[in-house]
Each structure stands twice: as C-alpha cells, then as structure tokens.
Symmetry: C2
Subunit: 375 residues, 2 copies
C-alpha cells in the first residue's frame, strides 16, 4: 500500500535528504564531521533567524524542552507556563519534575495566550524567572502571539527568560527569534525541517546563558553550555541525521525563507477554507500555518475519518487526550506542496461522504483549487 | 521542487524496489545471482500468465521488439504490422530494417485493430509468417482486441507467429499470454513493473522457438534462444534491475494479479470519466486501462497544459509526432493509487482554468471522487 503521510510530525522526508543520510557514515570526531556540524549550526541559525548560539541534541524535541527547564530553573524557582493544549501542559510537568513552581495559565483547547494574561501573571506573582510556551500548539493547531509577548517581556520584564517551543513553527512560520526576544527557541527534526525524528535544536541568548551559568539544578545529558563548548556534540551526535539536517536546511534556504513561509501560508489557507466550505468548523481561534485542526461533524467520530482515510493510504492525525475522536489534524508543514493538499482534501471529502456526511460534496476541493488559483 | 510523475513510463518506483536495488551488488556468475534470476523468471511468467520461457534483456523495450523480428523473420519474409500509433509504426520500421516485408495495416490514431482486417490481410497476402502489434498503443492510449486476434490466429492460421508488444499492458491489464495464443509477448521494466528503465522481458512459445531455430537473419546481442540456454544472461545482466524486478514482481503477486488489474481499471475509469465530465474528449475509441489520452480543448495547446502542470510539480505527457500539442496523456500504470488520480485531476482542472478553460470547474474531480465511492 502506497502511503501518503499528512501527520504533524513525522512528516515526509525528501529523497535528497534520505540520500544524503545514506552516504557512508563518518566518524564524529573527524575534521570532516566537525566541519559539517559547524556549517549545519550556521544554517540552523539562519532558518531560526538568530545570531544566538544553536545547539543540536540527539533527542526528540522534548529533550530540548527539558534542557530549557533544567538548565534555567533551580529548585523553588517560579515560572509561567502556558497550557493551551497537550504540549503546553508538558511545560508544567517538566517544570514540576525539576522542583520548580509552575504558574500555569490555562486556556481552552483551541484558544490562544493573551499578552495581558502573561503580563498580569508576572505582575501578580513574585520572582518569575521564565515564561515557557509554544509558538504553535501542535495539539490544537494554534499559533500564539509570541511576537507580542516577546516584545512585552523585553520592554517590561527584561530579566525574564522567554522560552518558546517552536517545534511545529520553525521552518514553516516566520518566527523571528531575535527580533521577538526569544531567549531559548526550540525545534525538532521531524517537522518543518523534513527529517526523521531524532534531533532537537535549541537557540540560546546571552541573557539565558548568564542565567544558566548560575544554575544549580541537576542534569548531565541536556547540558546547553556543555554542548556549545563541545562545538560538535558533547556526546556522540546523531551523525547521519546531522548530515541530513545540513541538506534539508540548504533546501529551505535555497527555496528562500520568505517563499517557504508563503508556501505554508497558502497551503494552510487552502486547507482551512476547504474544510469550512465543506461546512466543518476549525478548532483554533488563531490557526497556525503548520497544521489545521478540524472539528469532526456531529455524530461522526474523527477516529472513523482517520481510519477510513488510512484505507486509501492517507495518514492524518487524531485529537490528543480529551480531543480524541472529536477533531482531526491535517499537517502541511515541511515537504508539502499544492498537489498534496488537493489530494488530501479530496480523500477527506470522499471519506466524509462514506461516513454519511454528504452536504456540500465537491465544495471543499473546489474551494482549495480556487485559493491556489487566486494566488 | 517536489515531483509527481504521471507519465506512461518511466513511472514511479516504490521505495521497497529502490531499497532492494540499493543492496550491495553481487556478481552475476555466482549461484546467489543465478538463484535470484531463476526465481525472477518464474515470477515474471506468473505476471505474464504464461508457461512459456521468458528471457530478460538488458535493454529498453525496443530491444525485445528487435529480437522478436530479427530472430523470427528472414530476409524477404512477410509479416503483418499494425500501425495505429507511434509504436505500431515502429514494428514496420524494424521489420524493414531486417530486410523483411511489412504489410502495414494503418489505423487513424485513436482507432484500434479489427480482427477481420488482420484475417483479410493474411488471406490476401501469401506466406505471412508473423503478426506484429501492440496490446496497448502507448501513443494513443488504445487497447487492441488482442484476445480476439490471438484466438482467430490460433483457429485459422496456427502457423503464423503472433507477436505482441505489451509494454504498457503487462502488469496493468489482464493479458493472458497463453490463453490468447501470444507466441511472443514483450514488456519493459519502466511501466507497470515499477522499475527504472533498462530491462526488457520477452516470452516465447515452443512454436516460436521452432521458427527461430530455422532462422538465418543476423543478430548477436538479442539472441532469444541463446538467452534461454544461458539461464542467467548470455551477456552481463543488469544485476540491480533484476534484483529490483524480483521485488516488484513479488509486490504485484502479493497484491494479487486480479486486484492489480481491478485497481488499474478503477483508476482508468475515474480518469476517463473525470475528463469527460470536464467537457473534454478522449482520443481513443477503445481506451486502455494503463493510460488516458485526452484531446486538448480548442484553442489550448496541450503543450501549455503540460508546461503549466509541471509548474506545480506534476509531469504528464504530450502527444507524440503529429499529436504533439493536440493531446495530453495521463498515466495510471504501475505504482498509482486513488490519491494520485485525485491529485492529478485537480491539478489538471486548475491548469485548464488558468489557461482560460473554465467550463465545468470542479466537475472533473467530483466525478472522479464519485467513481471511487461507487466502487
């Protein structure tokens, strides 16, 4: 069965990347690999729009999230975490796991963080050391206004460390790390960077580094300063993934960052307007351009939609936690182009019809085609 | 730019096949390779539905076409060739190149051979030694009634050698080599067999072998009996392509021949009905299930359609010779499934609209979805 992967990570890996990863593996302590690693870090800085140091962990994205907590917070420290979905909830769990206190701002799933809520939380709680949140909350397909929040922090609370999980944002959405005052920006390999899972990237500002230097918490593997010092990996780096990252970052920069962001914007717009034209409702009040979360029609479980689409080879994602069965998520971050969206929308339409939802049959794909033509 | 290949050869190669071809290359005179070759021939016989010997040439399909002429016809011999397209025309050229006489039955492009025309041509011309024709004429997307023709020959002219170029038929359309009295059946690797170009397969009946044994024409490389005798290649076989063929034939047989034929039938039906729903006309009077040839709308060159589709990454084919600019051809043979057709039809619709043909916008893709749902 031919597979058509439309999930928000892992995402399809381009043949160019697979081929570069299939080249003979090289030893990680050679000058050759050190050169590749150094270049890859420089390419990552351009994609992440930062002059800050970028470290690459052999881990999933959650490893870098842990590093951003364990390296920054001491036992008893206080931090704001934004919980508007499963990944926001994870920030709270990690903060607690390292003995710090999480002041959790909770939003309904699909809602987004408001700058004034963050500001008030800092004002009303003493000694907030850091703010932890997502750029794009993958479980709900929501893009938080991290630009506004970052600029507010810079102006009013310049000592607070601003940590942004951009795992489904970097490389898909225009996230300006430095301009938006992001002290620690995080991403993973298996999203817009078009790689298999296994790498986490983390950018770290001078301000954050100063905080980390004074930190006394316990960690060994996820050692941000140690990674910077080691230059090409404190521990054995995931050699072939780094080589693949070198290729995929070059592909992104060759296409041009603005073109890449514009492509994601267009694919997202077509997906959103197509499902709305079908009479469906978006989950998010502020949808991200990296994935689209859609409420399942009444009396149809999204689990059935996903199962039926899989019968045709197309993989989309279910809701997570309490949203399971209630929403489905279509990814369009990374190696996706217009034909993929057209394919996915028509397979979705067929599936809905099979499941008894036949209103507006044909309207979704027509709308997607119109959006692409209007461009 | 991501590519979506919808051309009638080469066709997309499944990852399983690419990976098997990437395994360490083995020497062709080892027992290991001989075993793979022997098994591959047995698998090919099952896909070609024959008990006859099958030989595998390291060549394009035209090499096997040449073998079927040079091994069978002597200088001065007479043969019927069916010319209903570019590949039918090629039979005439090869027959003449080997000093034999081609009685060419010419049909308008898009038309198909009639069994009575073949019968009359044999009746009206003395000493016809062979009939050369296509199963599916790739230049027009036409399937000739080779079943009727084969059975007529068996009954009335059992000495005539029946040679069928099934290059865009075998593995996509139910061609019953033995039941339909096909003495020499030919196919190539880069079509329904889902491989890169480079291999030609040829099945040969006992009757044809007896004719070949008495033949005095000149050939060296394309030596059918020599290949049978050599067992694993008279000359260096294309080792990795043979390994890939072993994999792809197993994929076809695992899916089940009947399922594979049914899949091609459904994809072809949806493609045909979609373009008709758009108000376009099929070129062929007897369309093949392997590809669909469509007349370009008035005032729109098919060359422009193809160029515009390529801008979105989708490759379809132009007409050949006098049909260039007048028709376009969408392939659906080999590694194609419903999502590919849905993608291709919506990209075609968008392209037609861009070029000023906006009648029935959305009707084509809707029809394709309906066909798939009706199944």
């Amino acid at each position: 069965m031919k597979r058509y992967l439309m999930t928000p990570g892992p995402t399809p890996v381009p043949e160019e990347v697979t081929l570069s990863m299939s080249k003979p593996i090289i030893h990680h302590r050679t000058d050759e690999f050190k050169g590749i690693f150094k270049e890859t870090v420089e390419l990552a800085k351009r994609v992440m729009q930062t002059e800050n140091d970028v470290v690459i962990f052999a881990s999933s994205g959650s490893g870098a999230m842990e590093a951003a907590v364990s390296n920054v917070l001491n036992e008893g420290d206080r931090a704001i975490t934004v919980n508007a979905g499963k990944f926001g909830e994870r920030w709270g769990k990690i903060v607690k796991a390292f003995g710090a206190e999480a002041i959790e701002l909770t939003y309904e799933y699909g809602d987004f963080a408001k700058v004034e809520d963050i500001e008030n939380a800092i004002k009303n709680n003493k000694d907030i050391k850091a703010v932890y949140m997502q750029a794009s909350e993958t479980s709900t397909g929501t893009f938080h206004p991290i630009d506004e929040i970052g600029l507010m922090l810079k102006e009013k609370y310049p000592d607070v460390v601003f940590v942004v999980d951009g795992i489904t944002a970097y490389g898909a959405i225009d996230v300006k790390t430095d301009d938006w005052n992001i002290d620690i920006g995080i991403t993973g390999s298996q999203k817009a960077l078009m790689l298999p899972p296994g790498l986490a990237l983390l950018s770290v500002s001078e301000k954050a580094k100063n905080v980390i230097r004074k930190n006394k918490n316990r960690y060994f593997y996820f050692d941000i300063l140690g990674e910077i010092e080691a230059k090409a990996g404190k521990f054995t780096p995931a050699v072939s993934l780094v080589v693949g990252l070198n290729t995929s970052l070059k592909m992104i920069l060759d296409e041009g960052l603005d073109n890449v962001f514009k492509r994601h914007e267009t694919l997202a717009k077509a997906t959103r307007e197509a499902v709305v034209a079908l009479g469906l409702e978006l989950l998010s009040k502020r949808p991200a351009n990296s994935l689209t979360a859609v409420k399942s029609p009444e009396n149809i479980s999204s689990t059935d939609i996903i199962t039926k689409m899989k019968e045709l080879g197309v993989d989309i994602s279910n809701g997570q936690g309490s949203l399971k069965g209630k929403i489905f998520r279509i990814a369009h971050l990374g190696y996706f182009y217009k034909p993929d969206i057209l394919m996915c929308i028509s397979v979705l339409e067929m599936t809905l019809k099979k499941l008894g939802y036949s209103a507006k049959f044909g309207e979704g794909i027509k709308r997607a085609m119109e959006i692409f033509l209007d461009e």
